[in-house]
Amino acid sequence: MIAVAIQIVGYAAVSYYALMNLYILGLSIHSALVLRRNHHLQRFGRVREMLSSRLAPPVSIVLPAYNEAAGIVDAIRSMSIVEYPRFEIVVANDGSSDDTLEALVEAFQLELVRIPYRDELSTKPMRAIYRGRSGVDITVVDKENGGRADALNAGINAARYPYVLCTDADVVLDAQCLVRAMQRVVEDRERTVGVGGNIRPLNGSTVELGHLISTSVPRGMIARMQILEYLRTFICSRPGWSEWNGLPNVSGAFGIWRRSAVLAVGGFSPGHMGEDMDLTLRMHRFHIDNDIPYRIVYEPSAVIWTEVPESARVLRRQRIRWHRGLMQIVADFKSMLLNPRYGRVGMVTWPGYFLFEYLAPIIEFVGYIVVPTGIILNLLSPRAIIAMIAIAFGVGMLNSFIAILLDEPYGYANSGTDTTRLVVIALAENFGLHQMTVLWRIRALLGGRSVKVWGNMERRGVASLSET
């Protein structure tokens, strides 16, 4: 009996792996078609017109800041020259213990203003509000520490405009990212409640005073692996999901939301480890439950750059946090799984996520135990197993290659060596790097508070990134 079980589980685990990659392949092909179709629109886009326009709604850029004294001023400066007719910047100082607030006050000549603040979303107590007197339209909300989601909520409370761009202080925005993302809003103003952007790892690139000068693939394997991961998500999955109005996640690093919609669903969830995906799914659920026509889209040409962990240690914390967040989300949104009421989110994209992201580590882990055991006990045919694994690897590589091929440089030329480096990672990724993330996610599932997951990113400051 056990023998049969081992056989079933063994083959199932290996086919799961192959299936997962085949699913992604399907998504990739769909996304590739979507990207191609919209490509010409992006290139000859109507950016110039939007910029001069009566057509562009004002946007509040909201960002939380916690102990960012080193880079916050440069970050805000570079955001302030984003190409967009009318916007403001709202910084929520989340009870920083360093000089973040002082740095802001000095750089932007902030003045304490005591104006009515409507706390439509409840947050940790507010201490003060500041407005800038210099050229930059900036508001700083000083509050007690409450975490990223709480800080964003406070920022949203203070935001004046009908749309909010939720982002982070360590993100480098492309000059046109806002106008390109907002184009998706104005082309269907009634229905569009959210737009997600294209996030690219910054590591290895040269940044000066918050501006990207040139890009290249970083040195470390860990960072390179992430580049490939990000490429796969943003090229192979999101365009297709967006087309189906099934986007399960609008990333926290760049998410434009209609402010009234955020208020209606109660804002971000404080303390949640995956607050961006949590909000996105809540948006889907709210609008469907209330029969409100809506759409949440992904805009590939709205590009932003952010630092990703370079060391295994920091990456591990991040992945454990992400998986914990996913666990919370699975608990909260179980009812949407395979529920036809929720359209493509419920029937395709969320179940896909559940099956291939959430369950993945469990199934793979079981596979690592059962398969070798089965082979040793002669219950599983080594040739068949190897063939299936080879198929899974092969399809996985195909996905990576598709991502590399379709990747647009977005104004920053990638050298030939860079492409080769990515190709090498595509080949090598499945031999160790991927397995490492599986183990970390198992650790997350096993729970326990002993793992410190937030910590600081050990941000070395973007200036030193160019030294790698």
Binding site: R77, S78, I81, G135, E208, L209, G210, H211
Partner: protein
């Protein structure tokens, strides 16, 4: 030969302005960001600067401010696509000798440059 610094992040504008000025007999240096503009203006011997209001790094006005506080006294012409009056007034108050809006006439810009140089 008079030396002129042109600072604008748009390649089109830099090229246009520097070609026109070179044609008019000036020696032109171009940069595409605020920090570079500031260092060239502080360290090198220039006779006039044309700077764009919106540049990566430091804004045109900030560069102007820093030059003034360092005691650099060459004339500065601000170039901008921003349309509001406060910016114009502020730059003039900060010490710019002239303010040119985009779109502009190249010949007019050249004339203003020569006027500003004569006035010194």
């Amino acid at each position: 030969m008079k030396r002129i610094l042109v600072a604008d992040d748009s390649e089109t504008v830099s090229m246009l302005v520097s070609t026109a000025l070179a044609n008019a007999g000036y020696s032109v240096t171009t940069v595409d960001n605020g920090m570079a503009a500031f260092s060239v203006g502080s360290e090198q011997d220039i006779d006039l600067a044309i700077i764009d209001q919106l540049m990566p790094g430091l804004l045109g006005m900030e560069v102007l401010e820093k030059w003034k506080s360092d005691g650099r006294d060459f004339p500065v012409i601000m170039l901008s696509s921003v349309n509001d009056e406060t910016t114009i007034v502020d730059s003039l108050r900060m010490g710019a000798v002239d303010f040119v809006r985009k779109p502009f006439l190249v010949k007019e810009l050249t004339a203003r440059v020569s006027l500003a140089l004569q006035r010194r």
